[in-house]
């Protein structure tokens, strides 16, 4: 039997009926049409499905969908405001911090959670923040550089 779940997704109200046992990743992708979080492992090992729930990073594929009833979810799909990219998106773009791009949405969400809480992180803090996100092609250094650069740009703005 499907269960109704309502929540806020990237600032807009979302209401979906979910299958019993459905995870948040499937519900966001197929139920809400937000394809930005990705499936990589289904077990919390890769972080490709990382989304923010009430501002904190969570693994969407391990989140029972009905748990998010009434809560606020942010994904990479809502990171830009209109045509204006988020500083993190700009920094990833300019710093070649994405190659295949599959881990990127999860990386961006982990990075956003960090910068929202700590606008001026150290390199070690950045490493810690993305430690749950695996990347297989870009290599982590350009990603770390990009996050630090975004922090700098945001500080300057």
């Amino acid at each position: 039997m499907k269960t109704p779940v309502t929540f806020t997704l990237n600032g807009a109200e979302a209401a979906v009926f979910v299958d019993p046992g459905a995870n948040l990743l499937d519900v966001l992708r197929r139920g809400c049409g937000d394809l930005s979080p990705k499936y990589g492992c289904g077990q919390g090992g890769c972080g490709a499905c990382t989304v923010l729930i009430d501002g904190e990073p969570h693994i969407a594929c391990l989140t029972l969908a009905e748990v998010v009833q009434g809560r606020t979810i942010q994904t990479t799909g809502g990171l830009a405001s209109g045509p204006d990219l988020h500083p993190l998106q700009k920094a990833f773009m300019e710093g070649f911090a994405a190659q295949c791009g599959y881990c990127t949405p999860g990386m961006l969400m982990s990075a956003k959670a960090l910068l929202d809480r700590n606008p001026n992180p150290s390199r070690a803090e950045v490493e810690e923040a993305i430690s749950g996100n695996l990347c297989r092609c870009t290599g982590y250094e350009p990603i770390i550089d990009a996050i630090l650069e975004a922090a700098k740009q945001r500080g300057a703005a």
């Binding site: 019993p20 289904g42 919390g44 904190e56 693994i59 391990l62 923040a129 993305i130 996100n133």
Partner: protein, 263 residues
């Protein structure tokens, strides 16, 4: 097809448990199995009971709700002494989800926090009353835990160490915790526990006995290092062989006991 049942109180959820059900805490263990179509259960039971997330002091002990997450432990001043062990679990997103109760149920090589709780004389307070030592609970892993009670360690008496090949987030080659009580300059009533050195986190009685009355220096702990793996049965797994775990355990035990830093 699955069936999800949500209860307002932990007691009702515990009452609904059956052999075809799994209790969902943070989801990091149960949803993993759901995603892989585990045929051993058809029901998910959960509760919205806020009491499960409470962290509060009870005398010389701290009661940690089984639903408290690793992030909760790192944030709460009551559990500052557990912050390093909580941080050893997963990445930030996992720590926002993984719970204390779930950590007690985590299969090898997971369950790093439980190692710390074991070394602090952890006691499992079950939903609906009743308490049992964490050691006993880990040997059967049945029932719904309301909270885990641990001794609050004095000063730097509590030590925790996780050995992994990947940092900062990696799966344990082994984890170790020690509660080094001292009396008149000598170690007394010491607790030492290992993780990823057997099917569940275990206390290492041989090491504890060898440390009784010893001084906390290289010479004093030498007998304990000599029996570092007595009574433990480390597994072979893709992270490390049993042989390797036995070989390096004394080294890591020394670093743990003497507070030597080696990241």
């Amino acid at each position: 097809m699955l069936d999800v049942r949500t209860f307002p109180t932990a007691a009702e959820a515990a009452g609904a448990m059956n052999d075809d059900a799994r209790f969902l805490g943070g989801g990091t263990l149960v949803m993993n199995r759901v995603n892989y179509g585990d045929q051993r259960f058809r029901q998910i039971i959960r509760t919205t009971d806020p009491s499960l997330r409470e962290i509060r002091t009870e005398g010389d002990r701290v009661a940690i709700g089984a639903g408290a997450t690793m992030a909760d432990l790192m944030r709460s001043p009551e559990t500052a002494f557990l912050a390093s062990a909580a941080r050893a679990v997963g990445g930030p997103a996992i720590r926002n989800m993984a719970t204390v109760g779930g950590n007690l149920m985590a299969p090898h090589p997971y369950g790093d926090l439980a190692v710390a709780l074991l070394a602090l004389d952890g006691v499992a307070r079950m939903v609906g009353g009743g308490e049992m030592s964490l050691e006993d609970f880990l040997s059967q892993r049945r029932g719904i835990v309301q909270a885990v009670l641990v001794r609050r360690p004095a000063g730097d008496a509590f030590r925790f160490r996780k050995v992994s090949r990947v940092k900062p987030k990696g799966v344990s080659v082994m984890s170790m915790a020690a509660h080094l009580n001292r009396s008149a300059g000598r170690l007394s009533d010491v607790r030492v526990a290992y993780g990823a050195m057997g099917p569940t986190p275990v206390r290492v009685r041989a090491v504890e006995a060898a440390l009784e009355g010893a001084s906390l220096d290289a010479a004093g702990i030498a007998p304990a290092l000599a029996v570092a793996t007595d009574g433990v049965t480390p597994p072979d797994d893709p992270l490390a062989s049993a042989w390797y775990r036995r070989e390096v355990a004394p080294v890591h035990l020394r670093r743990l006991l003497l507070g030597e830093d080696a990241r």
